[in-house]
């Protein structure tokens, strides 16, 4: 590394790498230089002139956001001259500003308001009539109030550089310049809301939050997004048990500030009037409300009776519930109900990958690795739609570190904007196509490989041998669908494996039915479904089977229940979830729905009713987690890391799993950024966006950008 440059900022001696920007170096020592247009991670435009500083020996004031540090530089960031200059800049910014803070969403957390307050630019010498343009609605999510805009270009850059969508631009010039959407009067875009969050003022606002509340009236609860498997941290703004806002401006979590439309806006299902709040028992063919104690007693009685009669009981878990719940559920199924017929909708071949990588350290990529690896290969997924955070990370890696990206996909993907090589290969044919990249990939110094559900079974082993044959360090990510799809696998929600990838057969358990087998088995005595919707397009062959369903909504499966138990959402629970990269993160309870219970508690209550409470252990998340740390290989993760909002990655098992799973059982739901399985259909916000470009491999926004 080149020698550090020595300089002083406000009298404090500092050392910094050559080329670092003054504004960043000052920030590091706690000097916050005002800035509207500068935003770390994006290109510099030096458009606002707020970041002016004095540098000894240079007569003019300099913009700290573009000024690299220099040896011996003497910098001052707060002087009367600077205050005067900043005040002047603010006076200009306010010439056409409506000053409607009392009704503006941003009031209380507005950067312009803060600066005007700090520099006292409350009076203006301008008496001319202000330009005004009425507020416009650009999409079901995005509103624009041109009068409030200070033309900092943050929104334009986050959309083009960050997202790769390029939906925003600046039209006209001078005092008439205005932000414009890509389709004259409306937006066709990812609807991610990044532009809204990054806007320093209240010019861009969201349909969800506008005119709802004030920032200081909410509790801000950091938890994990309940939708896809990427596991973004989302900070929910909650008032009176109602979630009003989702963002992650504090940059805690693996996603920094990133969230896709689902993390930012699709929390509305939580308040849906369709939420189930009372247990129901089928009486005379109709579901009738019942008390919790009656419902639990009824379920326990039935389960006991069926078990004693030696009937098959099938249990369906989910990628939507916590690790603790999955662990507890399989323990209950296997130890109390004595059934090994437990499964969930499998969306990626994690088992084969972990088997192939058994005993290796550093073989699984983290979300952060995708931002740092020198090269990334994407196989069989349209990441921008299916795994938005991973797409963001890879793109940022290309932007900041010039990482090489390769893709082998069935159609155009957004990575094509910057890939070194994009190969089109039909699903299932990716492995053959991969050979064409061998030379280029072996020339890389390291590689992260991300693969979708079309690479499964033998193909996963082929992929790992291909990786091994490159002679460079390779890390893998096996894509799965939902927030805890990976955790469901880890916790043994499949008949072949116990928690921690231990063979069920080797442990002496009987062969259990897989999910399709349960549904097709005419002799099934009971089906217990926890937060899943397996009957959405299949019929249960066992017409007489007793069906227990725990869910938030009256899904297709729930409609066929004999007992329906309303469960709490992930935003109303404690516990941990494991993301697509095997990173364990902890939830915080943000809200509460009267009448609904966490799935862990529901299972616990049934166990208690059966007199099995002591065998099952307490249904307290921390207690269950402590047991998991002992029992589930890989889950002995450091508690302080996850307790403080961090992510801890689990390792592949130390020895080969040695159990074959049927690749035919693996099928991703292929959600786009505007769908989220059955849960997504209860989000009005997502519903309103269904007409947005949503199909995979359309390559919208892809174009051969001239090399820059």
């Amino acid at each position: 590394m080149a020698d550090l440059v020595k300089l002083t900022i406000d009298g404090i001696p500092v050392e910094a790498a050559p080329g670092s920007l003054l504004i960043e170096v000052a920030r590091r020592i706690g000097k916050e230089i005002p800035a509207f247009c500068y935003y770390d991670g994006f290109s510099q435009v030096a458009a606002c002139r707020m970041c002016l500083v004095e540098i000894e020996g240079i007569p003019k004031l300099m913009t700290a956001c573009t000024q690299p540090v220099g040896e011996g530089m003497v910098v001052r960031t707060e002087t009367p001259k600077l205050a005067e200059a900043r005040k002047g800049t603010l006076e200009f910014l306010l010439t056409n500003h409506p000053l409607d803070c009392p009704v503006c969403d941003k009031g209380g957390e507005c950067e312009l308001q803060d600066m005007v307050f700090r520099y006292g630019a409350s009076e203006s010498r301008y008496v001319e009539i202000k330009h005004h343009h009425d507020e416009q609605q650009w999409s079901p999510v995005v509103y624009f109030d041109p009068a409030r805009c200070i033309l900092c270009y943050r929104c334009v850059r986050v959309c083009s550089e960050g997202m790769g969508v390029n939906a925003l631009g600046v039209v006209q010039r001078g005092a008439y310049a205005e932000i414009a959407p890509n389709h004259t009067d409306h937006l066709e875009c990812d609807e991610c809301g990044a532009c809204i969050d990054i806007c320093p003022v209240g010019a861009l606002t969201s349909d969800t939050y506008r005119y709802q509340t004030r920032p200081w009236e909410m509790n801000h609860v950091g938890t994990i997004c309940t939708h896809c498997s990427n596991g973004c941290k989302t900070t929910l703004g909650v008032r009176n048990d109602q979630i009003i806002r989702g963002n992650n401006r504090d940059r805690s979590g693996i996603n920094g500030e990133f969230l896709c439309v689902k993390g930012r806006y699709a929390f509305d299902f939580n308040e849906s009037e369709e939420r189930l709040t009372t247990p129901m028992i089928r009486k005379g063919g109709k579901l009738e409300p019942a008390s919790w104690s009656d419902a639990v007693r009824f379920v326990a009685g039935k389960l006991k009776q069926l078990k004693e009669a030696g009937r098959q009981i099938g249990v369906v878990g989910s990628g939507r519930v916590t690790n603790e719940e999955s662990y507890y559920l399989q323990k209950f199924a296997r130890q109390v109900l004595g059934t090994n017929s437990i499964d969930h909708e499998r969306s990626g071949d994690v088992v084969t990958l972990l088997d192939a990588l058994a005993g290796r350290a550093n073989a699984l990529a983290t979300v952060d690795d995708l931002y740092r690896a020198k090269a990334v290969l994407v196989i069989g997924s349209d990441l921008a739609h299916q795994h938005p955070l991973l797409h963001w990370q890879i793109r940022a890696n290309w932007r900041h570190h010039a990482a090489h990206t390769y893709s082998v996909t069935a159609g155009p993907v957004r990575e094509d904007q910057h890939t070194v090589a994009a190969i089109r290969a039909a699903e299932g044919a990716e492995m053959n196509a991969l050979e064409q990249l061998r030379d280029k990939l072996s020339a890389e110094s390291e590689l992260a490989i991300v693969f979708g559900d079309s690479v499964k079974g033998e193909a996963v082993r082929q992929l790992v041998s291909f990786g091994d044959s490159l002679g460079i360090p390779v890390k893998y990510v096996c894509l799965v669908d939902y927030v805890n799809s990976r955790g469901a696998m880890d916790m043994g929600i499949i008949p072949e494996l116990l928690p921690g990838y231990q063979s069920a057969a080797a442990a002496g358990l009987p062969v259990g039915l897989t999910l399709p087998q349960m549904l097709a088995n005419e002799h099934l005595g009971a089906l217990w479904v926890v937060n899943a919707d397996p009957l959405r397009n299949t019929r249960l062959a066992a017409k007489e089977a007793f069906v227990i369903v725990q869910d938030l909504f009256l899904t297709a499966t729930a409609q066929q229940a004999d007992v329906l138990l309303p469960s709490a959402s992930l935003y109303e629970k404690l516990g941990t979830v494991t993301n697509v990269c095997g990173e364990v993160q902890r939830l915080t309870k943000a809200a509460q729905t009267m009448g609904a219970k966490a799935d862990l508690e529901i299972i616990g209550l049934i166990a208690k009713e059966l007199g099995m409470a002591s065998q099952m252990g307490p249904w307290i998340t921390d207690k269950v987690f402590a047991e998991m740390q002992q029992v589930v290989a890989g889950y002995n993760v450091p508690l302080p890391v996850i307790a403080t909002g961090g992510a801890a990655q689990t390792l592949p098992p130390a020895v080969k799993i040695g159990v074959e799973t049927d690749p035919a059982l693996i099928r991703s739901a292929r959600d786009t950024q505007f769908t989220s399985g059955t849960l997504g259909s209860y989000s009005k916000k997502l519903d309103s966006l269904l007409e947005s470009p949503g199909s995979l491999y359309q390559g919208e926004n892809v174009l051969a950008l001239a090399t820059q």
């Binding site: 390029n166 939906a167 925003l168 631009g169 600046v170 039209v171 006209q172 010039r173 001078g174 414009a180 959407p181 890509n182 926004n701 174009l703 051969a704 950008l705 001239a706 090399t707 820059q708």
Partner: protein, 161 residues
């Protein structure tokens, strides 16, 4: 969009002048030539130009609305009269010329005569301060313009048809 053959040729010629990785630089000349050849810039043309130089249509719109010599989305007249009222011209009679032109033509800022022949625009500095007040009609500059000279110029336009 298929372009008239002549314009197509011009496009290849202009784009050919730039190294392929900088073909974006051809944007302004392409738009200027298209505007002259086709009389107006349509949304289809915007898409076509965007595709050819490898940018998004919105980025073409940014450029189109930035430059006063490019007219989008509303086309201007066959003769586009631009009167500068920026500082130098303001001090030397620009605003008077502007008012005169408005009255004579019965047009306001960015308005076009019913027959599409003449349009009027009040512009910022056109870089002719040394010869203020200055006006620009299409690509021609006129310096030290007096009210009489303006009258004459506008008369000529009518005759030119």
């Amino acid at each position: 969009m298929t372009l008239p053959q002549e314009l197509e040729q011009k496009f290849s010629e202009i784009i050919g002048k730039y190294p392929p990785e900088y073909k974006k630089s051809a944007l302004v000349p392409l738009l200027l030539y298209s505007q002259d050849a086709l009389g107006k810039i349509t949304p289809e043309l915007v898409n076509e130009v965007a595709r050819r130089v490898g940018v998004f249509p919105l980025q073409v719109e940014e450029v189109l609305t930035y430059y006063s010599m490019l007219h989008f989305p509303k086309p201007m007249g066959k003769y586009h009269v631009q009167i500068c009222t920026n500082v130098s011209c303001q001090l030397t009679g620009g605003p008077e010329l502007w008012e005169l032109a408005c009255k004579r033509l019965g047009l306001g800022h960015k308005e076009v005569s019913a027959d599409g022949l003449i349009s009027l625009e009040e512009v910022e500095c056109i870089g002719a301060c040394s010869w203020a007040p200055a006006i620009q009609i299409n690509y021609d500059f006129h310096h030290f313009v007096t009210p009489e000279k303006l009258d004459e110029l506008l008369d000529n336009l009518r005759q030119l048809q």
